[in-house]
Every structure is written in structure tokens, then in C-alpha cells.
């Protein structure tokens, strides 16, 4: 057990209301806290768990459940899940009534427009942070580039690309 349930609760609870744009935007902060602040994992271990979570079915951020379990066992997994999704979920439930009443107001569209560049910037940062952590060899960099090109051209499903990446890694000893 590397982290107490309380420490996990505090970490993911802080991130919950900051996870704009679908959740991946908090990955760099999650990595910074877990790797550089708390020293629970190395950057490579974090990237490996991120990759595992991406390979699993379900929504984004399954890495939270995995990190909770890895760092704090079953209680850690439960506490991390509740801390990460509870506050944002409560906000959704609270905002729903307001939204139904006011969703045609123009300021909603403007707010969404204002959030988009922040989301894209945070996602770019996530790609940069994770990308540099996994770039451990020329082979790994090549796999990242190939995966990017294939997905950007929409030539294959993400799951297929992940499986392909694992195979290429095994064959070329990335």
C-alpha cells in the first residue's frame, strides 16, 4: 500500500472539478502529483498504467480506478473513483435543472466557445507530457508517430491501433 485512502481522496477530489473537456485534461496534473510531488510511481510506471487503462473498455479516466487500486488496494480504488467522479457528477445533477430552463440562452454557446481552446490546450499538454514520458527509445517514438498518423487519417479504430502498438513494441523491442 503506497498511498493512504485519504491522500488519494484529496488528490482526485481536487482534480474532479478541473477535468474540463472530457477528463484527459487532468492527466498531466495527475502525473505531476503522483510522480513528482508524492513519488508514488515513476513517470514510466505512470505511462504503463495509462496505457493499460486506455486498452480497457469503458469511459475515459479508467486510469483513476487503476491508480487507486495500484496505490491503495480495493479501498483505494473505491475512494479514488468516488473522489474523481463524485464532485463533477454532483455538479452535473445540480446544473441539469438550470440547463433545461435556460439552454437556449446565447451565453451558453459563448461559454462553450470560450472553454474549447482551454480544453484543446490542456489536451495538447496531456499528449506532450504522456508522449515525452513514453518516448524511451527510437522505436517507441516511431510507434507514437505511426499511431498518430493512422488515427489522424482515420484509417483504423483506436483499439486496433493500441493492439498494433503492443505488437510492434514486442517485435521491435521498443
Amino acid at each position: 500500500m503506497k498511498a493512504s485512502p485519504w491522500a488519494l481522496f484529496m488528490l482526485f477530489g481536487q482534480l474532479s472539478l478541473l477535468s474540463f473537456g472530457g477528463g484527459n485534461s487532468v492527466l498531466p496534473e495527475m502525473q505531476r502529483q503522483i510522480v513528482s510531488v508524492h513519488h508514488w510511481l515513476t513517470a514510466q510506471e505512470f505511462s504503463a498504467l495509462f496505457a493499460l487503462a486506455q486498452a480497457a473498455p469503458g469511459p475515459n479516466l479508467m486510469i483513476v480506478v487503476l491508480l487507486g487500486w495500484h496505490l491503495g488496494g480495493l479501498p483505494g480504488a473505491l475512494v479514488s473513483t468516488l473522489a474523481m467522479f463524485g464532485p463533477s457528477g454532483a455538479l452535473v445533477m445540480f446544473a441539469l435543472g438550470q440547463w433545461k430552463r435556460h439552454h437556449h440562452r446565447p451565453w451558453h454557446a459563448h461559454l462553450r466557445k470560450a472553454i474549447l481552446p482551454v480544453t484543446v490546450g490542456l489536451l495538447a499538454a496531456t499528449a506532450g507530457v504522456i508522449g515525452s514520458a513514453v518516448a524511451v527509445s527510437p522505436g517507441a517514438i516511431a510507434i507514437t508517430v505511426i499511431a498518430f498518423v493512422v488515427l489522424a487519417l482515420r484509417k483504423a479504430s483506436p483499439l486496433l491501433v493500441l493492439a498494433g502498438g503492443a505488437c510492434l513494441g514486442a517485435i521491435f523491442q521498443a
Partner: protein, 196 residues
């Protein structure tokens, strides 16, 4: 979004194939449970198909409306959608049922994967596979960024916000909270100003 035009909401006009009864708490759990099981590589397109077309819990426009809220607020889009749809039909109990249903199977699978990996992670072949998998997962993030950012390409001021966020988080490794507060404020100002 295109889906509105492609799939016009006809059910509201013709009573025949109309909306079914609102789902119960149990049906909410089961509905999102199935989504969690089947949602390999992106749950969102699947969610629309399951909730609007197959289960007929809501119309396309209602779905897109709720999705808009979920994308605006912090939190995973699909997880927010589970909370919103559960709440919409059955209050807090429905929201919790939908959320628990959605995460049940993926949580189990991700923990099993983690346990299996912990057993074999010192095997060199596994290490190479994981390095390749992680590298491909990073490529996925770059591709997502490009797809989401494509619509901002001609907007210089929005691109400045994108670059500022990237520099602050990825290069300076500045904490997230002040970064989001400052950049969101800046972005709202820019958007409001262009309107005026």
C-alpha cells in the same frame, strides 16, 4: 452536430413508434451497464445508438442537449451523461444507478488487467509490449488533440489560449487550478469582446 440533420426526430410527430415509458432505476443501471461492457474504444457513438435508437429513452435533440451540458461541465463526457440521464428520469437514485452501472464492468476489467500486469511486468517481452502500447496510446492523444483543435485553426486568439495552456502545463508544469482559472477567464473575455 450532423446527427440532428441525418436522423430527424420523427417519433414526436407519429405516436406509433413513440417514446417508451421513462426507464426505472433498475433499467438505468442495466442500460449503462451494457454500455460499459460494449464500449470498447469510445462509448459516445454507442451511447446515442443505444439510448436514442434502441431503447428510445429520449429524442435525438434531447440527447444532444444533455450531451452539450455534459461537455461543458468538468468530468468525463460519458460519465457526466450517466449522471445527467439518471437524474433526468429518476433523480439522484437514478443518477447513482446509471453511474454505478456504467463503471461496474470497466472497473473490474481494468483492475484485472492491472493485476495481470503486476504479475508479469518484469518479463522483457511484456515490457516491450507495454512500451509499444503506451507509445500508441500517446499517439491517440495527439490525434484527439488534432481532431478537437481542427475547428480552431483559423482563430488566432483561440490558438494563443491553446499555446498558453500547453506551455503552462506541459513545459512549465504549472499547477492545473490557477492555469485553468486564468486561461478560462482570459478565454471568456476574448469571446465576449469579439461579440461586442
Amino acid at each position: 452536430m450532423v446527427t440532428v440533420a441525418v436522423t430527424p426526430d420523427v417519433r414526436e410527430e407519429d405516436g406509433e413508434g413513440g417514446r417508451l415509458l421513462p426507464p426505472t432505476v433498475k433499467e438505468l443501471f442495466v442500460g449503462f451497464f451494457v454500455l460499459g461492457v460494449t464500449g470498447f474504444g469510445g462509448v459516445l457513438p454507442l451511447a446515442r445508438e443505444a439510448l436514442v435508437v434502441r431503447r428510445r429513452w429520449m429524442s435525438d435533440s434531447e440527447f444532444l442537449d444533455l450531451l452539450g451540458l455534459c461537455q461543458l461541465l468538468p468530468g468525463g463526457n460519458i460519465i457526466n451523461l450517466a449522471f445527467a440521464i439518471g437524474m433526468h428520469f429518476r433523480g439522484v437514485g437514478g443518477a447513482i444507478a446509471a453511474f454505478a452501472g456504467l463503471l461496474a464492468v470497466p472497473s473490474g476489467i481494468v483492475i484485472l488487467l492491472g493485476a495481470a500486469y503486476a504479475q508479469v511486468r518484469h518479463d522483457p517481452l511484456v515490457q516491450h509490449m507495454m512500451a509499444g502500447l503506451a507509445a500508441a496510446a500517446a499517439g491517440l492523444l495527439f490525434a484527439m488533440t488534432l481532431q478537437l483543435g481542427a475547428q480552431l485553426m483559423r482563430d488566432v486568439r483561440a490558438l494563443m489560449v491553446v499555446v498558453a495552456a500547453f506551455v503552462a502545463i506541459a513545459l512549465v508544469r504549472f499547477p492545473l487550478l490557477p492555469t485553468v482559472v486564468i486561461l478560462l477567464g482570459l478565454s471568456i473575455l476574448i469571446t465576449a469582446r469579439r461579440r461586442a
